[in-house]
Amino acid sequence: MENLVVTCSPHARSGETTRKIMMKVLIALLPAGAFSVYFFGMRALYLILICAICSPLFEMLWCWLIKRPDSTDDLSAVVTGVLLAYNLPVSIPIWEAVAGCFFAIIVIKEFFGGIGQNFINPAIGGRVFLLISFATRMTDWSVIEGTKAAGYLSAVSSATSDAVSSATPLRSDTVNFYDLLLGRTGGSLGETCALVLIAGGILLMAMKVISPIIPLTYIGTAAAVAWLCGENPIYHIFAGGLMLGAIFMATDYVTSPATNKGKFIFAIGCGVITMLIRIYGNYPEGVSFAILLMNIVTPLIDRATMTRPFGALVPAKGGDAK
């Protein structure tokens, strides 16, 4: 008979692949994207598409350059692109969005060895890069005349020549809770509507892509810190990028701890740092910096929260008896 395949067990596989997981993340990101286009207009769609296309293109280019097999079919670069786009204001120039993709994919992801090796979430890296490099434009919440956003926000802002400028929601006292929930507020493309983000989070959990530990702990901690500091917790968890960050960015596999205990510590750290920056920091928003800082300590958390295997004997303290 012909030669058979001989491999180590197991000989069955669940069929789950990296590509399928990334596909599920993209599906969960859809509601927020759809809302973004509805609210901010067609320019939001262009930005999302440009980032979603440029990111894998940069990865492809890099693979070609270093003679590595093309890895873009795992769709992880597309997820990075879409997430980065969701973190951009609608008014950002296209070339800056592309520069953000370049930084996220090439500098953050590929320089460190590609998927699974990056020490911070590439989308957050890209956003922080843009925030530091182009601070004014990244916090320019102008919206385009004629869109839903302009309609809602004109009530709280004064019209300029071709765009409506709005205050950032975290510094505004005029935004109410329902506006935040339904996304009738200024902000980055994908962060405004808490409702669609929560829907995406439920999708992610239903598809067993993420566990609820990080989002729930993150949001819970932020609310607790806000309450302790005398701020309105409800307002803080629905405003700004917290929902987007807690559900889609802090849950990134590569840059968050592996164990449940580790995830818990990580999310508490994210929540505390976010609120400290929001309340006491110079920046109006702290989600990106909080996640970025906790990404960096993830290897340490992982070391400190190793599992104790079933039946493992705890090594005797104080050395051997003999």
């Binding site: 997981i21 596999y253 599992t307």
Partner: protein, 434 residues
């Protein structure tokens, strides 16, 4: 009785128990059998017959002086064609007795109902029966039944979980040999003075539960386990049934428990009732490439090619042939392998059934960690193995891995995690001595 409450992790694998309703068919005696002399994890036997000798059914054809060994018997009558070298699935070389059968199946004079008195004699007879752990481990049963601390061992757990997909030979054994099973349990419990017997069985076998329920009494109880692979793992089953943890370096007897597979119990009782040692085996032949999947009883040493031919031959091109189930079974290089004592299934898989994508980088999703029944960290072990980091492997307790395969099964990056764990164990063993 329900399980202990808290369950160890695992994976829900498709059961694929297509043959659960297939009553065992007796296979006609094949023209030739190959009986390897190494069929337990103990020492390999020396052949007691030579080329040209006539052998009969039940005749002892191999034995060893070593304590850690179990004799081998012939399941056919015929003539010894040759004594050949044989490469076992683990790569070791042993001798094998090749017998051309005469089809008469003349029973040997050696086969007679054993008479014994006392534990010593009982254990000697258990050794004479050629019995090894039939769940797969092939551990000599007479040694297992003779723990160092007999007074502390009071519980017999009968492993009827059969958690591997496809395999139904234990299920058929429970349905077809219920009386032998119960008599065997009572015999072992009596001889070794066990107070309690727990039969651990997965809830995907309601017919077996129904068959065994009438026998439950103050001594024998059923423990229904959720069908979440690998409930049949020895340490897993002990924990699920009693809540006891078999710690690093311990044997089940150290926590007062001995685990026996159902088919082992039935084989033991068969020997004590008829004198016929372990010479034939009920085996599930299944897989997409087999025309008519069946449960077959065949003499030990029957070639896989004969088994497959009895099951209608190949329906499709075979990509892999497995000795055992898809989660822990060993892939063999061809179909000229003989049926072994601890073989409970022969799976002939098509390329589609066992396709495994090329490994890609770990994305640290943590699935391997969620599913590991022993809470090991397979992804971290994978990395430590690649770095040949002995200290890290020791910290990660790679030695505790039972190689159940859950981590590799769920890995979206298709990483060979079990293989890395096996390698890690070896590295730890070799590097740990310095």
């Amino acid at each position: 009785m329900q399980g202990f409450g808290k369950h160890l992790s695992g994976v829900k694998v498709p059961h694929n128990k297509h043959t659960s309703a297939c009553a065992t068919e007796e296979m006609p005696v094949p023209a030739r059998v190959i009986i390897p002399m190494a069929q337990s994890i103990g020492a390999s036997c020396t052949p007691l017959v030579k080329k040209g000798d006539a052998v009969k059914v039940g005749q002892k054809i191999g034995d060893s002086e070593a304590f850690f060994s179990v004799p081998v018997h012939s399941g056919v009558s015929g003539t010894v064609a040759s004594i050949d070298d044989f490469v076992t699935a683990s790569g070791a070389v042993c001798q094998a007795v090749v017998i051309d059968t005469d089809g008469e199946q003349t029973v040997s004079e050696e086969v007679r109902i054993p008479e014994y008195e006392g534990k010593e004699a009982f254990l000697r007879e258990v050794r004479n029966s050629g019995l090894v752990g039939l769940g797969g481990a092939a551990f000599p049963t007479f040694i297992k039944l003779n723990p160092k601390n007999p007074d502390e061992v009071d519980t017999l757990i009968v492993n009827a979980a059969e958690c591997e997909p496809y395999i139904t030979s234990d299920l058929r054994a429970m349905l077809e040999d219920t009386d032998l099973l119960i008599a065997g349990i009572r015999r072992v419990a009596k001889e070794l003075d066990f107070k309690k017997v727990i039969i651990g069985i997965e809830d995907n076998k309601p017919e077996a539960v129904a068959a065994l329920k009438p026998y439950c009494d103050s001594q024998i109880s059923l423990c229904i386990l959720p069908s979440k692979y690998p409930k049949g793992g020895e340490k897993v089953l002990i924990y699920e049934a009693t809540g006891k943890v078999v710690a690093e370096g311990q044997l089940p007897a150290d926590v007062g428990v001995i685990v026996m597979n159902v088919t082992s119990v039935i084989t033991l009782e068969t020997y004590f009732e008829t004198g016929m040692p372990l010479v034939s085996k009920r085996v599930t032949v299944d897989g997409g490439a087999v025309a008519e999947p069946k449960n077959v009883r065949a003499p030990i040493g029957t070639l896989y090619s004969d088994l497959i031919a009895f099951c209608g031959g190949y329906k499709e091109k075979a990509a892999k042939i497995l000795q055992g189930g898809p989660m822990m079974g060993i892939a063999v290089p061809n179909d000229s392998q003989p049926l072994l004592k601890n073989n409970n299934a022969v799976l002939v898989l098509t390329a589609k059934e066992c396709e495994a994508p090329e490994p890609s980088p770990c994305i640290r999703c943590g699935r391997c960690l969620w599913v590991c029944p022993f809470d090991l960290m397979p992804a971290a072990i994978d990395k430590a193995v690649r770095n040949r980091d002995v200290e890290r492997l020791r910290t990660l307790k790679v030695n505790l891995c039972m190689e159940c395969g859950c981590c590799s099964y769920v890995c979206p990056a298709s990483r060979p995690l079990v293989q890395q764990n096996k390698l890690g164990k070896q590295i730890l063993k070799n590097g740990g001595g310095k």
